[in-house]
Amino acid sequence: MPHSLINLATQLQRKEISSVELTTEYLNKIKKQNKKTNSYIFTNEEVSLNQAKKADEIIKKGSPSVLTGIPMSLKDNIMTIDMPTTAASKMLAKYIPSYSATVYTKLLNNGAVLLGKTNLDEFAMGSSTLNGYFGETSNPYDTDKIAGGSSGGSAASVAEDTSIYSLGSDTGGSIRQPASYCGVVGFKPTYGAVSRNGLIALASSFDQIGPIAKNVEDARIVFNVIKGKDEFDMTAFEIPRTTRQNPVIGIDEDSIQKIADKDTLKVFEKAINACKKLGYKTVKINSKYDDLYIKLYFVLAYAEMASNMGRYTGIGFGYHTKSSYIDTDDFIRKTRSEAFGDDVKTRVMFGNYMLSGDNMKKYYYKALKIRHDLIEDYYLNIFNKCDFILSPTTPTAAPRKDHKYSSVEEGSLPNIFALPANLIGLPSITIPFGMSSENMPIGIMLSGKKNFDNALFTVAKNFEQYSEHKSLDIK
């Protein structure tokens, strides 16, 4: 078993090891491992070791929390005042924020130690972590395979044990999909359960920050620290405590059979068996895993992305063009053309197209209405039958880096099971559950009703006992 949060917290508090020692060990490991996987964009030993020293003092005084002294990492779209925050873009390549994200402040208040900032797809736009300005991240299980994305660096770092846990962000599966590909736990909270203050916005009504960790309990601990109301985010609120006795598990077997590959179905079969062993009743549901989700996501999320990307003009902060320009428009055009990668440009153009002129009514408002109906439908026709939805996290294990998808829709299939939770605002967790024939991790995903994050953790922990996942052991 790799180092888990709980084990290390115990060792730290028993003073069997100091945070400075632990942090040094991890920083060294990053140096070695990053050549293979490129999980990290940036580290700063001085900052990390200072935080570790502080943590050791807190432990000496005898007032630590579970997170005190534990080295962790943050996806590089989460603002850190003491390290650059680049969103893996040339646009922010040298950007040092003037403030810290609420989640980072909360972690620091708990004595956490930041090892560095992890890699992602540029501005979190993607699901491969192949397209960022600072290079690709590879899957620690097989460096020819993708780590997934956009929180690929976070997932890979936890899998290879270059951080104990990490925070990622999930807009359309961006925590759960890479976590599943890398064989770790990834949790996307109820929309609004965690403050988005200091998360570089992708699609604001979809984005949530969540933990990526080595097991469900670790993820739960981190979530409980970062969650809650925030004066800097009007959409953040305090989720209620929830439990669910004798939960009913809904499974859309027909759709899953159609979408998932053989290896995945084999692992998923074991998850269904786990339900029986746990004494959980299962029911058939129709969660309509079809391209409706993908289309809705394209229209709504891309529109929000286009709007959110407007602020990168080269005026005030970030990259600006060095070539000559005629007027402000020309300056902005050149800056954006030079600094954004193709995936960002595509989304900005597509999103603005959706918001322009008549398209606004034809596509945007129509999609908004369907999203609204979908939310209603989920509660009326799915959550009336079950408490949690079980599915594979992705239809296949991590593909090769050179795998080519034949269409945009097909390219979105890896997120097909994950998307509903973002569209509807549900809590959703992936647990590594087994291995493919090529020895790559395969995850299962559980999603609950809005606000049922705590109950979801309990159920996920019960499933975890039956996992046949094999962790990496990188020294």
């Binding site: 603002m79 203050n197 800097f232 959409t235 709007s307 003009t313 005030g316 902005i332 945007y364």
Partner: protein, 470 residues
Amino acid sequence: MSKYNLVVGFETHVELKTKTKIFCSCANEFGGEPNTNCCPICLGEPGTLPQLNKEVVKYAIKAGLSLNCKIPQEMSMDRKHYFYPDLGKSYQTTQSSRPICLEGYLTLDSGKKIRINHIHIEEDASKLVHDSKNIYIDNNRGSTPLIEIVTEPDISSVEEAREYIEKLQAILRHIDVSDCKMQEGSMRCDVNISVHKEGEPLGTRTEIKNMNSISFIEKAISYEYDRHVDLIENGQKDQIIQETRRYDEKTDSTESMREKEDAQDYRYFPDPNFFVLKIEPSFVENLRKMLPKLPSEIKAELIEDGIDEKAADLLTKYKNVSDFYLEAKKYGDNKIIATYILGEIFRSMETEEEKENFDIKITAEDLGKLSLLQKENKITAHIAYSILPKMLKEGRPHTAYLTKEDLVSVDNTEVDKLCKEAVDAMPQAVKDYKAGKEKAIKAVVGYVMRATKGKANPSYTEQKILELIQ
């Protein structure tokens, strides 16, 4: 030309004087050192989110209530997109689909109601300063709170346009939500203008943006009216196009801005950083209860109290003036106080702004007490008027200027005696008066006034003299 009706509508931006900006806790002040009142939020730095200032909501609802608007129970915020250096996020957070106030009106003196379509809240853009080479951005104004008051095209003359704006200013100042200083930009108007013949559909409208003076608004409307009518009369109606124009005060004319503004597609859509915001009816009712009296209400009360309409208008035009007047009234005579304010005090003020500020050295209480002395004939109006300028200049109370002599009221039997003496002493004046020269009587009254050093009551004296010569 009068066969064409003028049709005017207003979109008025008003800066709210809340303590902090609309989405962050920066001070809502500008004019100071550039870029000193800003933070990551109002600069639109990545990862920042807006927090709606509750005071802005309150101020906007107060404005809505005093303009007879309905306050819906839900409102939402929208994004309006455009690229320009004055807008850090490249979108302005405003309201388009669900504004905070709907369907109100403002009543003109004629009784005509100018309908308000809606009022919405939004953030202001930053201030740009251009020189020959560069554009400088001052973000102090960025994200300061505004309301935009949008009327129906109900205004049909230049006079009504002026009255609408003046009344709007008076109301918003009375409820203390804005200074409404057009010259400083805390109130700015976009004016829509079209013309048509009675019974025919409305003509194509043009919009003049960013007007910051009432007299420019009047001139611009007149110019546009003439321009539209001339084009129609010359058979060039198709040259009136829906466009944005700018008023140039130097040439007193308007010119098209079409190249910049008209091709804009603002791509309005709901801002995902806000949920739909609920406004409790009880919250609105509490605000309604707390609203001070509006200028129209105070004016009606003044008229009931015997102040004539024109004076009542002037006294309620500026909030500080009406506050002062109402306070002074507690200590003296309302009509006499009105003559002091509209006479001697207003005369000492050269600009509208001075009247708006009404920053004077006399206290309301002192002025009230002075009026009481005059009312009770303890001093004459002549004396009151002679000491008022000194009080205004030096700021000492009226008692500092009144001598014992001033305060001795003149016995009427003494005045009676003097009147007889005057009539006898000025036979020619009496003769002239009888021959129809009414003014001649003033000379006889003047004799008495001189003899009493201005302490006799002039109207009593005139009455007495008339009795004697009839």
